[in-house]
């Protein structure tokens, strides 16, 4: 009896080991252990959230299903740069396969912490100025991805087409945001070329935006709002002034057109996230980050031209027909209507 028992135990154990090894081998050949991707953003923000969702959607399109092929670790620094470092360290300790860094401070923190794990950037305006890449064509390190540099020129060129009479453009931004300062400086030059005057006011926090917008009334023909975090956080305040004083808003980020802007010709952050995912897929397929240039959304087919007809009506504006023929999306009766490209 004892012998039998021992024999059967040995048999059982050996068969368990056999199956376990077989399973391991099979899983190694058929489906690899799921990838680990750490996604981090600096703050809760509609544009950054869209970028993150776009990334996940882009991965799904390429066949990497969330929860099955990829396990995502979503992190958020809640506006604090010190948290950005801690999150990057956590990703490194967890040995993730790819870090997705949404926003500049997150990318800087990730670059600081690891020079081995590939970092896919999303929504970083100027990676060269932020000192995380040597050149746009090749970072020279473990970084690649997409920039969200707003096509300021294309946007400002809309002004004469909408309002041939306009001479003064007002903008509100946070002078403490490097990204906004760059855009405003560029806009100033472009405005000069177009024969427009750019009137600038600043706000360092979202509760100051309302007064900044009010102070512009009577001095400007329209608002031009760049992708400034403070200004877009208080976008409703600008819309309030826009409607009261009948001043249209041209906004760099098309997400804000349904919220009360008149028009935008800009980057769709969801598309941006999808394009970042394409870069990530290239890395997963074996390319080195240095071999993948950092991309920008500049091509007209990647940009989104949106007009809010509700706002046009409230402001008493007539939109030229030739502009309506070009739009990708209009807002009418509180709904967004997209046109097939």
């Amino acid at each position: 009896m004892r012998m039998n028992l021992k024999k059967s135990t040995v048999f059982m154990i050996s068969s368990v080991i056999f199956f376990a090894v077989a399973l391991l081998l099979m899983s190694g050949t058929v489906c690899a252990a799921p990838l680990k991707i750490g996604i981090s953003q600096i703050v809760e923000h509609p544009a950054l959230d869209n970028c993150r969702d776009g990334f996940v959607a882009g991965m799904e399109e390429a066949g990497y299903l969330a929860g099955e092929d990829v396990i995502y670790d979503f992190q958020n620094a809640q506006g604090e740069f010190s948290n950005a470092i801690s999150i990057a360290q956590k990703f490194k300790d967890d040995n993730v396969d790819i870090i997705v860094a949404i926003s500049t401070p997150i990318a800087q923190a990730a670059a600081q912490v690891t020079s081995e794990i590939p970092i896919i950037i999303g929504a970083i305006t100027d990676p060269v100025a932020a000192n995380i890449a040597e050149r746009w064509e090749s970072s020279g390190n473990n970084i690649t991805g997409m920039s969200d540099a707003a096509p300021n020129e294309a946007q400002l060129k809309l002004i004469p087409r909408f309002f041939p009479e306009a001479t003064r453009v007002g903008t509100i931004y946070n002078a403490g945001e490097a990204n906004s300062v760059v855009q405003v400086e560029l806009s100033r030059e472009i405005c000069q070329e177009l024969g427009l005057e750019l009137v600038e006011v600043t706000a360092s926090n979202s509760s100051e935006v309302l007064m900044a917008a009010q102070s512009l009334a009577g001095r400007i023909d329209m608002f031009y709002i760049v992708t400034d975090n403070v200004a877009v956080s208080a976008f409703s305040s600008i819309v309030k002034v826009s409607l009261e004083e009948k001043i249209p808003i041209i906004v760099a980020d098309p997400t804000f057109v349904p919220e009360g802007g008149l028009t935008s010709f800009g980057i769709d952050y969801f598309t941006l996230g999808q394009k970042s995912a394409e870069k990530a897929v290239q890395v997963l397929e074996g390319k080195l980050p240095t071999e993948i240039p950092i991309g920008k959304l500049e091509e007209p087919e990647d940009l989104k031209f949106v007009i809010n007809l509700d706002i046009a009506e409230q402001l008493g504006l007539e939109i030229p027909l030739e502009l309506l023929e070009e739009v990708d999306s209009i807002v009418l009766s509180g709904m967004s209507w997209n046109r097939e490209k």
Binding site: V43, E44, H45, P46, D49, Q78, G79, Y173, A175, G176, V181, V184, V199, E200, V201, T202, A203, S204, N205, S206, S207, E208, V209, L210, M211, A212, Q214, S215, A217, G218, V230, S233, A234, F235, S236, S237, V239, K240, E244, E259, G260
Partner: protein, 308 residues
């Protein structure tokens, strides 16, 4: 400066004036540097935005905002009186945790309120013959005066007196048998309730709530208190609270002036904070100069007398 700009500065001065009164209670009356204000201002805005956005009545939103603020003040008081944290740390902890709480309440970082029915629309529908532009400053003036009168009355009651005495001389008042822990709790609760009310009104006025909108609230509040006190020297409670509201209006007016005319003096947009501070310094030193000028005039006069 056009009239509409004067009114806009007045409206915001009044709304933030309620917040400044809250800051006055803690910093000046209670001698408690309460930094939770930077969290309770957006807390009031967050609660209000959430309720109005989901279809609730603005008045209910305001009441809940005040309750939220009172609880936040109570938490700071709990940290300080029960857990024996220093007053600064207690405020910082509450302010920090309120960031996450505000995100939880709103479910996202930003809720726009444009097109939603706010308290301003409610009042407008009651008085249809007036415009928004006319009603807004009147409504805010009414609310601020109501808060001021209630506060003046409260501070003259026995409990209010005990709170004032706690800030003046805690040991003395404790030796008289007053529970200073209790007076601090009440003071902090009322203060933060008022700050949250201010946040609630500002959210309805400006059309949004945002987790980042509280940054720098305490600075504006303190500036208002100090500007007000330097202009009106009368020490009675009624005048003190009035001076705080006046200080808040002056502070907002200086920001408006800086925004509107700073560029004419060759300032760059990024210099806004600098210009505001310069204007505040001028406002603060004005009474001193007035005294100096008087002294100079007086001494010249007496010198003249001697020479004769």
């Amino acid at each position: 400066m056009t009239w509409s700009l004067v009114f806009h500065a007045l409206e915001q001065g009044l709304v933030f004036g309620i917040m400044a009164l809250g800051v006055y209670i803690t910093f000046q009356i209670l001698d408690f540097p309460d930094l939770s204000v930077d969290g309770s201002f957006p807390l009031g805005a967050a609660i209000t935005a959430k309720i109005i956005f989901s279809g609730g009545h603005p008045l209910i939103a305001i009441v809940w905002a005040i309750i939220g603020g009172v609880l936040a003040g109570g938490l700071t008081a709990f940290f300080h009186t029960r857990l024996k944290f220093t007053n600064l740390l207690s405020g910082i902890l509450t302010m920090t945790l309120l960031y996450s709480v505000n995100l939880r309440i709103m479910g996202k970082s930003n809720i726009p309120l444009l097109g939603k029915i706010t308290i301003l629309d409610n009042i407008k529908s009651l008085l249809p013959s007036f415009s928004h532009d006319q009603l807004t400053p009147v409504l805010f003036l009414f609310i601020v005066l109501l808060v001021k009168i209630l506060l003046d009355y409260f501070l003259s009651t026995e409990l209010g007196m005990a709170i004032r005495a706690t800030g003046d001389n805690e040991q003395m008042i404790r030796s008289l048998g007053v529970d200073t822990k209790f007076t601090k709790i009440i003071g902090l609760c009322i203060s933060n309730g008022m700050v949250a009310l201010s946040g609630s009104l500002f959210a309805q006025y400006s059309g949004f709530a945002d987790v980042g909108m509280g940054i720098g609230t305490i600075v504006a509040g303190l500036a208002s208190v100090i500007i007000g006190h330097s202009i009106i020297k009368n020490g009675s409670i009624g005048w003190m609270t009035f001076s705080v509201i006046l200080g808040s209006i002056i502070y907002r007016a200086t920001v408006m002036v800086a925004l509107r005319y700073g560029y004419r003096l060759g300032f760059q947009p990024g210099d806004l904070k600098l210009i505001s501070v310069v204007l505040v310094v001028i406002a603060l030193t004005f009474p001193m100069f007035r005294g100096r000028i008087r002294a100079i005039v007086a001494s010249n006069g007496s010198n003249g007398m001697e020479n004769k």
